[in-house]
Symmetry: C2
Subunit: 258 residues, 2 copies
Amino acid sequence: MKTFETVEAYRPWRKGMLAGARIGFVPTMGALHQGHAKLIRQSMSENDVTVLSIFVNPTQFNQKSDFENYPSTLVEDLAMAEKLGVDAVFAPKLASALYPKGYRVKVTEDILSKELCGAHRPGHFDGVLTVVMKLFNIVRPTHAYFGEKDYQQYLLVKEMVEDYFIDLKLVPVPTEYESSGLALSSRNARILPEHKIMAPLLHRAMVEFDRVDDARAAVEDAGFVVDYLEDKHLENGETRRFAAAWLGDVRLIDNVKL
Amino acid sequence: MKTFETVEAYRPWRKGMLAGARIGFVPTMGALHQGHAKLIRQSMSENDVTVLSIFVNPTQFNQKSDFENYPSTLVEDLAMAEKLGVDAVFAPKLASALYPKGYRVKVTEDILSKELCGAHRPGHFDGVLTVVMKLFNIVRPTHAYFGEKDYQQYLLVKEMVEDYFIDLKLVPVPTEYESSGLALSSRNARILPEHKIMAPLLHRAMVEFDRVDDARAAVEDAGFVVDYLEDKHLENGETRRFAAAWLGDVRLIDNVKL
């Protein structure tokens, strides 16, 4: 497995690929779990080569403490990637590798990016779109894999790919859940022991109640502080139930198709 | 000479290029003049293939009337391109070809884009950066040619190319002037006959006066309405004098290195 810390190191490797090669790409912020493993496995089954990126993107954090406390497990991540058979890892050590001149030119969206998580995390999706555009230009994948747990993120990246004629196939991958019902997330590592038993109630309430207000009441009764829990009709015709809720100082998100 | 009206039509042609081919790109809004011819000739001398785009980008016009009155001379443009030996022209007829879902996801910049022309044309440079990013993704050039008459635009595109790791060489091409001293521009066609004789005074004042205030006074005395005329130190260490001024309802811009 190749590992690259800079754009300059990665590029010649990418240019060595044949023109028709299928290059799968799984962008992550590290702290890899079985949700990421699922993305990686799907990429490997559908492509000639799979590239994983590990970069905790500072511009998508609206709270400094969340950025500083974001779990970092690079040694374990690289071991997992190698074991899964990833071909190359792009893992810049410094933020300046992707922001050499700072955060000057941004990619923004004014509608969907202001709703749901966007309403509670100002600037979050600008940071996401900006770094994903950079990563696409660097990695140059033919296929890119995004987890459905961050469904709003997937929809926004899809808008960007369409609007900018980015020549790749975007592949959404269904969320991976613990047997308890808790959606896998890197932030789960920060859930306090006394909160563990409550955490799966978010998902359970989302699927068990028909009325969204009942689901919200159940989640609040369980001790969550809810940012939002709402049903949303999407452009593609489907309806999804989206939620974000705090358990102590850990923010959990989830969504289900209705 | 190939001409393409849609992304779908252009792409297979581009994919037929060899991996190492040098693809020069000259993006324009049509109404071609000798300034464009200079860009095209330079691209042709430095590349295997030259692609010209002709697209009057609606999102970079802050005034509807300026957009509607922008000169359109497609038949003559194509004849000139063919005569110069351009290999391919990408000329979408409809705005929807580049904005199929509207103007949703934007590229923005908050510092340089708010100064000079940006201070007088709100949203202008967002529209420019957005369409140039799209065109780069579609055309996939190895070299892209921008006229120095729009020097602020060149600097902003340079920021975008650097920040987004766009894998091409950006080439600024010096402004082409009439013997009178008037910088060539597609908008010159709209200068009223009675204003023609005054038009070259903008450039002459910019180069003849040491003090920028004296230059501005001379331009105003000549009958221009000045948007700005100022000296600016640039990141690269050089100082340039930038100006935008109205002659009737035609806005002229120019800049000179000091």
